[in-house]
């Protein structure tokens, strides 16, 4: 265990603690809206972390990650809609367990099929194909008139997570409608996703991905075909992004096709690059900077996309390694 990873871990822990407590401090200072901003921040950090499994660990630049957020979100929106307004009894439910089951299944299947096709290609083909498949989901959602088409659906109630038998034991059910409870649920999900990504990164599986990222030819010459490993990573990342979509639908009480626009995928990609690839906490830092900047800039001007675009240019052209990379300047060991 050398010094740099340990430092990085401490830094990452501090960032997480800061994220966890800031909204509560602000609540105490009489600024409750920060809870709302930080909930969004944590949800986007989950999505960015899932993307970093593909981008940083496996070196796969998927530019269609927003599709999974949309699929996850509609896995909440559609059952809740039917439960509220009637119809499709087999689908209708307020149960969060059902939403998660549905969202995870749909995202996994979509990732499996589109991944199987797009992973046969490389480089710019891969980028463009993942982009095109996510655009397909966008148009599909727009075409579904029953679920509001372009306008989307409002989600009247948040997912209910009832643990069978918990009431008997005297444990109160999670009240997701309570903002800080919901916030803690999101934060716990972020921790879980980060933990799993960290585990995968250092596992046998993760090492195959990292090796194939550096030199695919060599991996094959050692007797491993990276395709199935990459496909699995693609599916896992899709599932995690789907989870963030489930949370997002609950957060916004609303789902719409605009969640799937490719510019959303671009923003996620920006968060990962902004925070710095090749670190576990980079996407969290990137998502935080992104959400906070967006908040301050949009209060300051309606033209907040302008400084954002310039920042994006500057980071790509000059800031290799992102924020963490600039802070760390890791000495070559």
């Amino acid at each position: 265990m050398n010094g740099v990873p340990t430092l990085h871990r401490i830094g990452g822990g501090l960032v997480l603690l800061l994220i966890l407590f800031t909204p509560f401090v602000m609540l105490w200072l009489g600024k409750p809206f920060w809870l709302d901003i930080f909930t969004r921040l944590v949800i986007l950090a989950i999505a960015a972390s899932s993307l970093s499994l593909l981008l940083s660990v496996a070196g796969l630049a998927s530019f269609g990650h927003a599709a999974y957020i949309g699929l996850g979100a509609y896995a909440v929106g559609i059952p809740v809609y039917y439960e509220t307004y009637g119809g499709a009894d087999w689908l209708a439910s307020y149960s969060g367990w059902w939403h998660v089951l549905l969202g995870v299944t749909v995202c996994a299947l979509f990732a499996l099929v589109t991944g199987a096709i797009s992973l046969r290609t490389k480089g710019v083909h891969f980028i463009m194909i993942t982009m095109a498949f996510s655009q397909m989901i966008l148009y599909l959602l727009v075409a579904l008139e029953e679920f509001g088409g372009d306008d989307g659906l409002s989600v009247d109630l948040r997912s209910e997570f009832v643990v069978p038998g918990a009431q008997v034991l005297g444990i109160p059910a999670l009240n997701m409608e309570e903002p800080w409870v919901f916030y803690l649920v999101c934060f716990a999900m972020l921790l879980l996703v980060l933990f799993i990504v960290a585990k995968l990164r250092h596992s046998h599986f993760g090492r195959v991905l990292q090796a194939a990222k550096q030199n695919e030819l060599r991996v094959k010459a050692l007797g491993i075909n990276p395709y199935r490993y990459r496909l699995l990573a693609f599916v896992v990342a899709g599932i995690f992004a789907g989870l963030s979509g489930i949370l997002f639908a609950n957060y916004a009480y609303f789902v719409s096709p605009s969640m799937v626009e490719w510019t959303r995928s671009g923003e996620l990609m920006f968060m990962v690059i902004l925070g710095g690839v090749s670190t576990l906490f980079g996407p969290v830092v990137g998502a935080s900077v992104f959400v906070l900047l967006e908040h301050f800039l949009s209060r300051f001007t309606v033209f907040w996309h302008l400084p954002f675009g310039i920042l994006l240019l500057v980071v790509v052209l000059f800031g290799r390694g992102g924020i963490i990379g600039m802070l760390k300047r890791e000495p070559k060991t």
Binding site: L55, A61, F63, T114, I117, S118, R120, T121, G123, V124, H125, I127, M128, I129, M131, A132, F133, Q135, M136, Y139, L140, V142, A143, L144, E145, E146, E261, W262, T263, G266, M269, F270, I273, F303, H305, L306, F308, G309, I310, L311, L312, L313, V315, V316, L317
Partner: protein, 306 residues
Amino acid sequence: MDWTLVLTQAINGLQLGILLFLLSAGLTLTFGIMDLINLAHASFFMLGAFICAWATLYFDSFVVGIVCAILGTALLALIVEKTVISHLYVRDHLDQLLATFGLILIADTAVHLIWGPAGLAIPLPSQLQGQVRFGELVVPTYRLVIIGVGLLIAATLYWLVNKTRAGMLIRAGASNRQMLSTLGINVKLLFTSVFILGAVLAGLGGLLIAPITEASIGMGNDIIITAFVVIIIGGIGSIKGAFVAALLIGFIDTFGRAFLDTIFALFMSVDSAETAAPAVSAILVYLLMALILVWRPQGLFPPKLR
């Protein structure tokens, strides 16, 4: 089957295909020659439309509007190429994509700042407003103009790439970049020219469609992805592939939206056909892309020697 309707839709499909070709020709050229993937292509599509709309209104002439739009996009393309794009040629595709995404954000906001949040309509001169009759078939004159201009540009491009010295350099550059510099070609100049050519083609696409849809912020951001699908299907880097795939997609998309419910109704109830058809026709193009990729991962006409 109502054949007038089929013909009308065929003309619509042709028009969409031509538009897609104008957009994808530049994309596939810049990729083939400079190995550059440029999202901001969508912005030139939009800028062509806005500049044309503004100049048409200001000078009260559509022709002046077109000239201004061509010169304007060319100038902007020159500036963008010198300041940003030229630094991206040596970068990986992800960097190129993100940086040009940044350019889109900047362009969209700039247009918002200059022309406001609402769109700009382009008034057509009266000669172009009429309709042309072919027996039962009635076609708006302007649609025929779009198709005619598009085909003319396609033919010019074909001549330029296949029959001229510049085209020979372009093809040589696409297959072997080192060769260009050993031949003593000014690579920088060639790259800049090709980038401007691509941008102008995109701008032309934008200004041609704007009288129908009007110029609006972000108008290129969705169609650029369809243009990506075109060049994926056609084979990235191939002009011929872009042309074939653009027409293919134009027809399939248009016919899908127009007739899929009728076709579905042949083997399912009218109700379910009317529910299923819009959803399937919305993703038809992408299903086609997936099928072609399974069959040929490099597209229909992959450029040789790559």
